[in-house]
Amino acid sequence: MTFQLGLLRLTDSAPLIIAKELDFFAGEKIEVSLSVEPSWANMADKLGYGLLDGGVMLPPLALAVGMGLRGAPERLIVPSSVSLNGNAVTLAAPWADDLPLDRTGATSIDAARRFGTLFRRRAKKPTLAVVHTLSTHNLLLRYWLTAGGIDPDREVEFVVVPPAETVTAMREGRIDGFCAGAPWGEVAARLGLGRTVATSHAIWNYCPEKVFTIRRDLAQRRPGELQAMLRALLRAALFCDAPENAEHCAAILSREEYLGLPRDIILTSLPGTTLRRPSTSHANSDVSVFFANAATFPWRSHALWFLRQMRRWGHLDDTTDSRAAVGIYRPDLYAEAANALGLPVPSSDMKTEGERDHPWLLPAVPSPIPMGPDRFCDGTRFDPK
């Protein structure tokens, strides 16, 4: 069969696009057809009614569809993650110009505090856009605002704007800022409309971003092909993570049928961008991580973090069984594919977050995985136990 996989016009669709264009899927003898969707709702509904078999998805939305909360009959599983980092909070120039900007993001919490002070002084309730209510963007933006002493539900107006339209919305003055995936922050900055005041990495170091999802029934009926697909995606993730391949990836992603954007803009969000950019320049895109730092491992602790945040903001009611929902993440299926390629697999399905502010080694088989810090901007610790 030909698998229909969906994606949106975003940098972190790269592994799927590369797996198709550079024949990683063909090399595993599976046929894949890619479908570029205009909205996350389309992804959810086409997956829910079997018109797509899988694709690159927002974890909170994948969890919601996986739990059947959208009313669709198909259930989903998450056998692999796709990327870490990659989002940015971009504020319109009238706000961003009066905030501290820091390349490393160490002061992202200060930016949130200053933003709060600023809009209260100006007596203006800011309108901020996210790409979907059930998105990492919404959860991270709310996390950042809260860390800066802002009450997201009372002090901010949230609107949903598709990533590709955030820039137009900012130009027309309909929104004061947005949290969206790369490269839209960079696009806004180049047009002089706004600047990035916090990257997702600055809000939560190496935070999980997109996941790869697939229909549960398909995974059960075609386990061999799912493994082939996961191996192809792992090879593509390795390719996309190598800085020396960034130019090649950007050229493919920039094509009209995929992102349809200039390649140098896409390049700012691909691995190795700091090597290509003058150290003094300001980062308006967060850089996606596709393999390093156990980026592809579907951490059940990450699923739990998302579920807790979704409940915190009223996206889930109290009847949701979080423990069962965590089972949508399938590290067992990931491990089988990684083992086949001789890639290391973490020894546990859960990890704490917010404990490490320096590089460390994650216990994994056959060899430990070098990891970066995992701090939250508010300095808290997350324990999935």
Binding site: P38, S39, N42, L51, P73, V159, G314, D317, T319
Partner: protein, 207 residues
């Protein structure tokens, strides 16, 4: 995304107010006609260039019919919770007992929403009418694409015959037979052989 709505009764407008968001004006007109035939619908179109979200807030419709190609559909997912600006929460139309109809709708590229608590029998005829029109338009578009393809293919075959006739001193039927033989030998369609030949010719090599 909260679970099932707790209120099961909602005061629907006497004439169901249907908000129609379709950027294809021809198809929108057809949907509007079809819905008018049902007799109890008041149809309001989302003007081109304006957001569905704003239209929902302004119009407070009972039913919303949306072209799935619209990127601002994600904003409607945000309307499932009632608040000050949106007193009537809406959810995606789902007929849990009729999966094939739901699949048909998504495949046709149309999705529908209704105010929370609306009864299925009130809403479904509207959705069915819209799906029928979207399907019809999809077929027309597919036929048109097919016709365009076969026209382009015929043109390619005609163009490929000319250099063959020139170089091999073929008559037109011989040139066609040459292409057909090669297609059979290579297990390809004639149009594909013609296209390859034309591509090669443009690179400067001889057939």
């Amino acid at each position: 995304m909260s679970g099932a709505a707790k209120t099961v009764h909602v005061s629907l407008s006497i004439n169901l107010k249907v908000l129609l968001a379709d950027s294809n004006s021809e198809r929108a007109a057809a949907v509007e006609n079809s819905l008018s035939d049902l007799g109890n619908a008041l149809i309001v179109r989302v003007p081109p260039g304006s957001s569905i979200y704003d239209a929902v807030i302004a119009e407070a419709p009972d039913v919303i019919i949306v072209d799935m190609a619209r990127p601002d559909r994600d904003a409607i997912d945000d309307l499932r919770r009632a608040n000050a600006v949106n007193p009537r929460p809406i959810v995606m139309f789902v007929d849990g007992d009729d999966r094939s109809f739901m699949e048909e709708a998504v495949a046709a590229g149309v999705c529908s929403y209704n105010v929370v608590g609306a009864a299925l029998p009130d809403v479904k005829p509207m959705v069915m009418a819209a799906v029928a029109i979207f399907r019809k338009h999809q077929h027309v578009a597919a036929d048109l694409a097919k016709a365009n393809t076969s026209l382009r293919e015929r043109e390619a075959v005609d163009q490929a015959k000319a250099p063959l006739m020139r170089r091999h001193k073929f008559g037109e039927p011989e040139a066609y037979r040459w292409l057909r033989r090669r297609a059979m030998n290579e297990n390809k369609r004639i149009a594909a052989v013609a296209a390859e030949l034309l591509a090669k010719n443009s690179e400067g090599s001889e057939p």
